[in-house]
């Protein structure tokens, strides 16, 4: 009969393989830490207050900006112009801002753009900002490309949005500023053009509109974009991993194909996990360099979601397949796990719906946010809590199953001494390796969680030495990404069916052992088609005994 590779691999070969994978892991971490810059870059842009000289106020072909030909007339909000009305005031944000006497432009490698608005509101005793007052923003986004004339801004998108303004102040004295929370304004899934321009107006169409927002002194826009260097490193990693996973999958599939039996559940799960990793590793980012693909953020979420769903399902099935003793020994199928897997499914589907409501709608209107309306907030929270609950239920299931497996193993271990020495050693080896893999999974999960927490506590750069600067955040991302890739590579390799057969001829010295051997072979031989590893066969055999 055949087992999996992990059972037939000698300790030395296993050690070599594990060392090699660990080296790959360290390389991934160091690539992120030493080569890549921080994942994202922020630019704080102070809004220029422009005077809207146009008679027609809804003209979207007229744009206001403070640099370049056709720049606007700048007004100072500090000295109150009483001849101005709110329709005359435009806050203009031209991005990116110039540096070192050079006009910088966005590169398509910078992938996406997120805008956060911050208002500096001055305290006036007669004009206090009420808590949770609403601000109505007329936001218009334009773009321009290199080589275009400096005044040929094209409308990208426009929207009138409502946002909540959360402001508080400690010292209520004139000229002190409120401490207002940042307002998420827009998210662009693709950074296709070279220059962007945001024009913000605060309209007063009805008497209540924008009436409780106080005296706005300044408006700041913080734009966050992924760093080009980080994208390059990330895409290179993907490009390196993608052929690897394809090759390993092909090899794995060939191994199963030549077995002359149908693949068992665990093998099918492994195969789908590999395919999910393929989908995740596909370097689709290359397309964004030539095409405007605003759905990349959403697609990235979906790809990651599929991968996590497959990984979680695999762990369940993996634990379950090593526990099936009482159940009927027929071909196990996914149906047996429907209770456990429904937790994964519910979690994923609710997160997917949430994502579609947020990032899906943002494809049509980048200024949209589900969090601004009360219904939207409740809806979003419902889905997120649902996802959280199903994750909790899932982990309870998983822990229970793993606990059962370990109980099983320790129980069957007691019957080990009655077996012949060679077989006992062999089974002990299998149990050890099973536990080893369990340990690897736990280690990966623990490292991910610890790395994440460390990143939250001390974000930014870590300096180990005066000369070596480690970009920790990037190192964490590449490290974790590499780790799960390597983990799945290892799973596919170690759990592929082995060519090797049981060393029956080697232990014929003891007749008693031989008889047991034959008996075992007969019993396990009955179910060759349904068993993946001889560990399960061992567990089942002893149950029958």
């Amino acid at each position: 009969m055949t087992g999996t590779i992990i059972e037939n691999l000698s300790g030395r070969k296993l050690a070599v393989l594990v060392t090699f994978l660990l080296l790959c892991q360290i390389t991934c971490f160091l690539i992120g830490g030493l080569i890549a810059p921080t994942p994202a870059n922020t630019q704080n842009i102070l809004g220029t207050v422009c005077k809207d000289a146009n008679k027609v106020k809804n003209d979207t072909s007229k744009w206001y900006y403070n640099r370049g030909k056709g720049s606007c007339e700048i007004i100072d909000l500090d000295d109150m112009h009483h001849d101005l009305s709110e329709t005359d005031i435009v806050f203009a944000f031209q991005m990116p801002v110039p540096r070192q006497n050079q006009i910088l432009d966005f590169s398509r490698w910078q992938q996406n753009l997120i805008g956060v608005l911050q208002m500096d509101i001055r305290y006036h005793s007669q004009m206090e900002v009420r808590p949770r007052s609403e601000v109505t923003i007329d936001a218009r986004l334009a773009y321009r490309n290199k080589g275009d004339p400096e005044d040929s801004w094209q409308l990208y998108t426009q929207s009138i949005e409502k946002r909540h303004l959360d402001c508080e102040i400690e010292i209520k004295t004139e000229k002190y500023l409120y401490n207002c929370s940042a307002i998420p304004l827009f998210e662009l899934g693709s950074l296709f053009h070279d220059f962007y321009l945001l024009n913000v107006r605060l309209p007063v169409d009805t008497p209540e509109m924008n009436s409780n927002i106080g005296h706005i002194q300044d408006m700041w826009l913080t734009v966050i974009n992924q760093n080009g260097g980080f994208t390059k490193v990330w895409v290179s990693l993907k490009t390196a991993f993608f052929p690897c996973i394809i090759a390993i999958l092909a090899w794995f599939w060939r191994r199963i194909y030549i077995l002359e039996r149908k693949p068992v559940l665990l093998e099918r799960m492994l195969l789908s996990l590999g395919i999910a990793l393929c989908v995740l590793n596909m370097p689709l980012e290359y397309f964004t360099l030539h095409f405007d693909l605003p759905f990349m953020l959403l697609l990235g979420d979906i790809r990651q979601g599929i991968f996590y769903a497959m990984l979680f399902s695999f762990w369940l099935v993996f634990a379950g397949e090593h526990m099936l003793i009482q159940n009927n020994p027929t071909q196990s199928s996914l149906k047996q796990y429907w209770k456990h897997l429904s937790a994964v499914a519910i979690g994923c589907i609710s997160l997917f719906i949430f994502d579609m409501c947020e990032r899906g709608v943002q494809l049509r209107n980048p200024f949209y946010s589900i969090w601004v309306t009360d219904i939207g907030t409740n809806l979003a929270l419902t889905f997120i809590i649902l996802a959280g609950i199903s994750t909790g239920v899932y982990f309870l299931f998983l822990c229970y199953m793993i606990w059962q497996v370990f109980i099983n193993i320790s129980h069957k271990r007691q019957s080990l001494p009655t077996m012949c020495s060679v077989r006992r050693l062999h089974y002990e080896g299998i149990i050890y390796r099973f536990k080893f893999l369990m340990l690897a999974t736990l280690l990966c999960a623990a490292l991910t969680v610890i790395g994440f927490i460390l990143g939250q506590v001390a974000e930014g750069q870590w300096k180990w030495d005066e000369n070596i600067e480690l970009e920790y955040t990037s190192a964490f991302f590449t490290g974790v990404y590499g780790m799960w890739n390597i983990y799945i590579f290892a799973l596919l390799i170690l759990y592929a069916p082995s060519h090797k057969h049981w060393p029956v001829a080697e232990n014929t010295s003891d007749t008693q052992n031989l008889s047991e051997e034959i008996e075992f072979s007969r019993i396990s031989g009955e179910r060759t088609s349904s068993e993946i590893s001889s560990l399960t066969s061992f567990i089942r055999k002893t149950t029958i005994d």
């Binding site: 704080n44 220029t48 110039p98 910088l104 911050q118 500023l177 974000e459 180990w464």
Partner: protein, 463 residues
């Protein structure tokens, strides 16, 4: 050889010029730029835009003029910063005997008057607030994009401006690879270049000015996230407010405890040297080294908007909070004196070419407290050399107008109270009817509706 002669001559000339004007506030004439924008000083050719006109030109030193030329738009920012500083100073001191009055801008005179000639607390504050004002205004201008020469990331770039094509290409590469976001960094370094020009750090007074300029900028410094494992930090034991120095290897970082303490850590007292803060073994301490007025904001943008990816940035504080912080430092300013090691410095004066203090070493000096029992001043403390003159009486020699005619508060026992403000000369009480705007309602953006109220007001003025 010719060049060398020219150099020597120039340097000698500079020395003559310096020797000819024994004014102490030689690095502070640029303050006059605050008033240069006013109608009587502005050339009619360029309304609204500050150009290198004669009035501005006169206030700036040669290096400052070069900096203004190399960074178009920076002069407007400096003028704005100086104005902000003056307004803030007058706000912070409006209830004190010295009320930060400025004189009408006259050529060759200092904006704040002769008080600057004395190395007192008030002078320390003026230096700090103007330095902070320039940093703040230049950072703002960078964020707005009105200064195009702001640097990408100052730490990686040499000070000298690169105008070569290769450097420009490298610049774009830096932006596309790792981004640029360093508004405050440029403001900080520009302020050092511009404000500290006249202070070479040789005399004690120059050291005082340099120290106070640095202290002003330190309020705006970015909290230091790059804590190296070997850095020694100033720390504060929470609770008993004792300041001591620790080194980092034996600490565990904790997140922010409260707003006052952005970075804290558990410190194992057993590992520290002779400077033990308390008797207990582990204490929670606050790293004041990393404290500043800067506020951090964050945004999560990971998978589905979760916090797996979080980006944070620093927000420029309002200048009012900068002024508040500096006023606190003013109240706790330390008096310093000449350290013994610096007494040999005049020996170098006999050299033919004056010894220039290297740029980076200019800031490396330690001032000694006047009272040996006190702690040496930290980088963020204001320092002064001599006690303040009395501001009660008019003193033309020091340019002090006196407190005659100042309004005071008869119920207060503080410095704004009539007893202290009028220096015991007594005060006059008048009841006046004031017509003022009241019950105002504001509407975005520009509409202010007020009622006119006639109120009775009791006004006390010092005799």
């Amino acid at each position: 050889m010719k060049c060398l002669w020219f150099l020597v001559l120039t340097v000698l000339c500079l020395r003559c010029e310096a020797a000819g004007k024994p004014r102490r506030g030689r690095g502070s004439m640029w303050w006059g730029i605050a008033k240069a924008g006013e109608p009587n000083n502005l050339s009619p050719l360029s309304p609204g835009i500050l150009s290198m006109d004669q009035a501005v030109h006169a206030t700036l030193r040669r290096k400052q003029r070069r900096l203004a030329r190399e960074n178009p738009g920076v002069l407007a920012a400096v003028a704005k910063g100086a104005n902000m500083a003056v307004a803030e100073c007058q706000h912070q001191f409006k209830h004190r005997r010295w009320n930060c009055s400025t004189r009408n801008f006259l050529r060759g005179k200092n904006l704040f008057g002769k008080i600057v000639d004395r190395g007192c607390r008030e002078t320390a504050f003026i230096y700090a607030i103007t330095s902070a004002g320039v940093t703040h205004a230049v950072s703002r201008a960078c964020a707005e994009g009105s200064i195009e020469s702001c640097t990408c990331d100052y730490s990686h770039v040499e000070r000298a401006p690169h105008r070569t094509r290769a450097a420009a290409a490298a610049n774009v590469r830096v932006w596309k690879w790792g981004g640029c976001s360093d508004n405050i960094g440029f403001g900080f370094h520009f302020s050092r270049e511009f404000v500290d020009t006249g202070e070479r750090g040789k005399t004690l007074r120059e050291k005082m000015n340099l120290h106070n300029n640095e202290a002003g900028r330190a309020v705006l410094s970015i909290p230091n996230n790059h804590i190296s494992l070997c850095t020694r930090l100033e720390a504060l034991v929470l609770g008993n407010r004792k300041i001591f120095t620790v080194s980092t290897p034996h600490v565990i970082y904790l997140p922010s405890l409260n707003d006052e303490c952005p970075y804290s850590m558990i410190y194992d007292v057993a590992t520290c040297g002779d400077d033990r803060p308390t008797s207990s073994r582990f204490v929670t301490i606050c790293l004041i080294h990393v404290q500043s007025e800067m506020r951090q904001e964050c945004k999560c943008h990971g998978m589905s908007g979760s916090c797996t990816v979080k980006t944070c940035w620093m927000r420029l504080p309002s200048f009012r909070s900068v002024g508040d912080a500096l006023k606190d430092r003013f109240d706790g300013a330390s008096r310093v004196m000449v350290p013994n090691t610096d007494l040999e410095a005049p020996a170098q004066r006999n050299d033919a070419v004056p010894h220039r203090v290297p740029r980076r070493d200019r800031y490396r000096f330690q001032l000694r407290p006047h009272n040996p029992d006190h702690k040496s001043p930290g980088t963020k403390d204001l320092v002064y050399l001599e006690s303040s003159p009395g501001f009660c009486e008019k003193n033309p020699r020091l340019g002090i107008p006196g407190t005659h005619g100042r309004a005071c508060n008869d119920t207060s026992i503080g410095v704004d109270g009539c007893d202290l403000m009028c220096c015991g000369r007594g005060y006059r009480t008048e009841t006046m009817f004031v017509v003022e705007r009241c019950n105002c309602t504001f509407h975005w953006c520009c509409e202010v509706k007020c009622k006119v109220c006639r109120t009775e007001k009791v006004v006390h003025t010092c005799l």
